[in-house]
């Protein structure tokens, strides 16, 4: 007998075991349907009345083990960092990305290893992380006590490249009667300056349900026909965005699109070794993530919240579906993307040829256009970052505009006193952008 034949014929012991199993099954069952299904290989498990358990048949057991391994490999392959905690807050599983993070940030940013307890880790963080860690511990308790299904906490910690911040999402999952928590890191911002770090007081921040689109403040959504607008309601949720929060990092996949309601988002180019430079501004007239409509799912720029407020957001996958079936939405988003590209393309010329005073006036007008009030909070340091100049240059330019009684500036609060005068003082980029914005509506 050849070796191949040996491999295909069951060994006597396997054959005997199968016969014995079938005999046992014959005694258990009343009819022949079960035996026929067994012979056809259509049975996964048999109930054992003596032990009260389900006995998985070998093929089913192998298939389940294989699917468990596949699941673990799939979790490992995900680029986002994932950590699973048991009901005591002890780490029971992590994925490859989380383990890589632990290796790179040992002792910082709640880099907890398998088997360690997150509550214990929160109480042993360096002094600079205590507020963030306390917020995480409070949020984790809410989830593990079953009082909240999802909590997001902001976390700020030191890193070799400066300040690092991220959002820690803690979701509860109930399996076999016990509650586990899944931790994922979102919106990781490496090297952000401390003043751009998100506040750590959002431990109890929860998703706010979208209440309706009848009075939606976002002008792009409001301009859609009511029938198409109503269909969007399902996929939109209202979120509060805080000053300094990063919605997208360069090169990262766009996970959500945001339709600002009463907040402002700056679009910044990040050049290694230099400060970020603002190239665009998005407010209630548009959305952040319009590149998805162009078939591009990553962002080349950083989207930074610079005016705290609310926005409606939708997952990227859902947004792509809506774009396919909602022609009005697609047209509106493409018009906005075109106007935004115009805004971004004029920036280099503006920075090269226009005086700082004119650029500051333009920036203040663009902000005013998108905010409900003529008074807003802006530090000189922030303005210097936005305009890509030194802080002293902003002081000088703001002083000049104030002397001309166009603005009032005191302790980070800017008030526009003379809109028309400021328009006259602004650079031509503002007029171009305004014309483009008017063409959208």
């Amino acid at each position: 007998m050849s070796l191949e034949a040996h491999q295909t014929v069951p060994t006597p012991s396997a054959s005997e075991a199968e016969s014995a199993f079938k005999e046992w099954l014959r005694r258990l069952v009343r009819g022949t349907a079960e035996l026929r299904a067994f012979d056809a290989g259509e049975i996964d498990a048999v109930m054992d009345p003596s032990s009260g358990n389900a006995i998985l048949l070998h093929p089913a057991r192998v298939a389940l083990q294989r699917s468990s391994r596949l699941l673990l490999n799939a979790v490992d392959a995900l680029p986002c960092e994932i950590c699973v905690l048991d009901s005591d807050g002890t780490v029971v599983m992590t994925n490859q990305a989380w383990r890589a993070y632990v290796s790179a940030h040992a002792g910082r940013g709640l880099a907890v290893r398998d088997g360690l307890n997150v509550f214990a880790a929160c109480s042993q963080v360096p002094p600079g992380e205590r507020a963030s860690a306390a917020a995480v511990a409070a949020g984790l308790r809410l989830v593990l006590n079953g009082k909240s299904e999802l909590v997001r906490c902001e976390y700020v910690h030191g890193s070799p490249r400066g300040q690092r911040s991220f959002t820690l999402a803690i979701a509860g999952v109930r399996t076999d009667g016990s509650l586990h928590a899944i931790l994922t890191r979102e919106h990781v911002s490496e090297g952000a300056s401390p003043r751009l770090a998100v506040r750590a007081d959002r431990a109890d921040a929860k998703r706010i349900p979208a209440t309706g689109l009848a009075d939606v403040p976002n002008r792009l959504l409001a301009a859609l026909p009511s029938s198409q607008r109503a269909r969007l309601l399902d996929g939109l949720e209202s979120v509060t965005l805080h000053y300094g929060e990063v919605l997208n990092e360069p090169g990262e996949a766009i996970r959500h699109v945001h339709f600002p309601s009463d907040c402002l988002v700056s679009l910044l180019t990040v050049v290694e070794g230099h400060r970020a430079l603002e190239v665009g501004l998005v407010g209630p007239e548009g959305l952040v993530g319009s590149r998805l409509a162009l078939g591009l799912n990553t962002s080349p720029i950083r989207a930074l919240v610079q005016g705290t407020g609310t926005a409606l957001r939708m997952t990227a996958a859902r947004f792509l579906q809506e774009l396919q079936r909602n022609t009005e939405l697609r047209a509106a988003v493409l018009r906005f993307a075109d106007s935004l590209m115009g805004q971004i393309s004029r920036t280099p010329a503006c920075n090269r040829f226009h005086m700082i005073e004119a650029r500051l006036a333009r920036w203040l007008l663009m902000t005013r256009e998108r905010m409900p009030s003529a008074q807003f909070r802006l530090t000189q340091e922030f303005l210097a970052d936005m305009l890509g100049v030194r802080r002293v240059s902003v002081t000088s330019a703001a002083g000049a505009l104030q002397r001309r009684k166009l603005i009032h500036y005191r302790r980070g609060i800017i008030t526009i006193l003379d809109q028309k005068g400021l328009e006259a003082a602004s650079c031509s980029r503002y007029r171009h952008v305004r014309l483009a914005a008017m063409a959208l509506t």
């Binding site: 996964d44 389900a54 389940l64």
Partner: protein, 109 residues
Amino acid sequence: MARKRAKAHAAVPPVTTVVTLCLYIAGGAPNSVKAIANLEAICQRYLKGGYKLEVVDVCEHPLRALSDRVVVTPSLTKLSSGVPANVIGNLSDTGSVLAILGLCAAELP
């Protein structure tokens, strides 16, 4: 008398029969996954909305399966209207499933 009964019968509003089914499975094992997919396809095609389906995972609820006298999985049991009946296996035989549902494939659209 017969006419009276006929009138009374006509006055009764039409009743939609809802079939209650219980499918016992073993987690994500191959035959169990197939059984769910096959049964859902059959129900959607032949019963439209007129059915209630409960899926019981015997790995999670073994005592429930034993008390319902289930010996092997996948196993489909009809709980309502008429004589209780069951089908064993991955439900790829549509005729057997329709038979316990009290339906005949030839009479259906």
